[in-house]
Amino acid sequence: MDNFISRIFSKEPSSADKARERLRLVLINDRTDLSSDALESLKDDLLDVISRYIKIDAKSMRINITQDGRQQRLIADIPIAGPISRKY
């Protein structure tokens, strides 16, 4: 109960919140066999490829794996900054 009271007055997430968040990430890793390092380099590679065709706002791009039922999805949200100036 002490734990409960003190939590009301603090911003610390509860142990159940922590468990939920840790499991969410671990399950994505387990299911996709993709570590967070590998996901980072996937992002970098993706960025390279796309930048060859179009100018993108790399700072605000978001690439995440999300869960849709038991299906994992790779979701990329990449703001376009403008066309690459073509040199003819």
Binding site: N3, A16, A19, R20, R24, L27, D30, R70
Partner: protein, 267 residues
């Protein structure tokens, strides 16, 4: 009659498979169903003591498979409920004594005579697990609301799907309502959201389970206990009834406040 074969399995050990088999078996049989429980956990015989039948064993699963006895000679009749039987496992160390094909053949031989065949699987992904799920018409995965158990459950669900046994249904065992209220335990909703499979039932943490197991009398025979009621509800859901989830909150007017189980697993 043509029995439905249900295998209860888990990723992590000790989450409550054997207890669930004994109690769901007892609950189904108490509703007039003819049930055989098979212990497929070779080398770690347990279902016999949980059902209180350890003194009646003459023949076991391996004796049947190796032809040392007829199938019905290895079926031990329950002490408490008519039409409930146990086929005990062997204590041999050789887990390859039984193959998945043996299990399929054995269940096919039993089917015509029974309503339900419940198979107690070992935890994990070894040979024993393969044996246990081979004859299954449906697989139930059991977990506790706890990080490592949920993680391992997710692995097992993936493997059951890969073995083309369909998506298993989920049984959450040892949920402690007080801890959930204090935000110190994953709630049933959390676990269902994470694993994304259909929820078959929730069994609360209940000291009465350990006490009844001490005596070799399944808690399902005590319909005053919360866990006993939970197992009965699970049995009724297996029989196709729409039974709402138990209100596990002992402080709020017992089982009156109910919330629906239906659809929650399919989000």
């Amino acid at each position: 009659m043509s029995a439905k074969v249900i295998t209860i399995t888990s990723g992590k050990g000790g989450v409550g498979k054997t207890t669930a088999i004994a109690n769901i078996g007892a609950a189904l049989a108490s509703k007039g169903q003819k049930v055989a429980c098979i212990d497929a956990d070779i080398g770690l015989r347990n279902l016999d003591v949980v059902m209180g039948l350890e003194n009646r064993i003459v023949y076991d699963l391996v004796d049947v498979v190796e032809g040392r006895c007829r199938l019905n000679q290895a079926m031990i009749k329950d002490k408490h409920i008519p039409d409930l039987y146990l086929i005990p496992t062997a204590q041999t160390r050789d887990k390859t004594a039984v193959s998945p094909t043996d299990m399929i053949r054995l269940c096919n031989e039993l089917r015509s005579d029974l309503d339900w065949i419940l198979i107690d699987s070992p935890a994990g992904i070894e040979r024993g697990f393969k044996n246990a799920i081979a004859p299954a018409d449906e697989v139930i995965v059991i977990t506790n609301p706890e990080v490592s158990a949920v993680r391992d459950a997710d692995r097992i669900i993936g493997i059951v799907e890969a073995e083309e046994k369909g998506t298993p249904r989920l049984l959450i065992n040892r949920l402690d309502t007080e801890m959930v209220k204090q935000n110190d335990m994953l709630s049933a909703d959390d676990v269902v959201d994470l694993l994304a499979i259909h929820l078959l039932g929730i069994v609360p943490e209940d000291k009465a389970v350990i006490i009844s197991t001490n005596k070799g009398t399944p808690i399902a025979l005590d319909t005053n206990s919360l866990a006993g009621q939970a197992y009965h509800n699970i049995a009724r859901r297996l029989l196709g009834e729409n039974v709402p989830l138990l209100d596990l909150d002992k402080s709020s007017g017992f089982f009156n406040r109910i919330s629906s189980v239906f659809g929650s697993g399919e989000k």
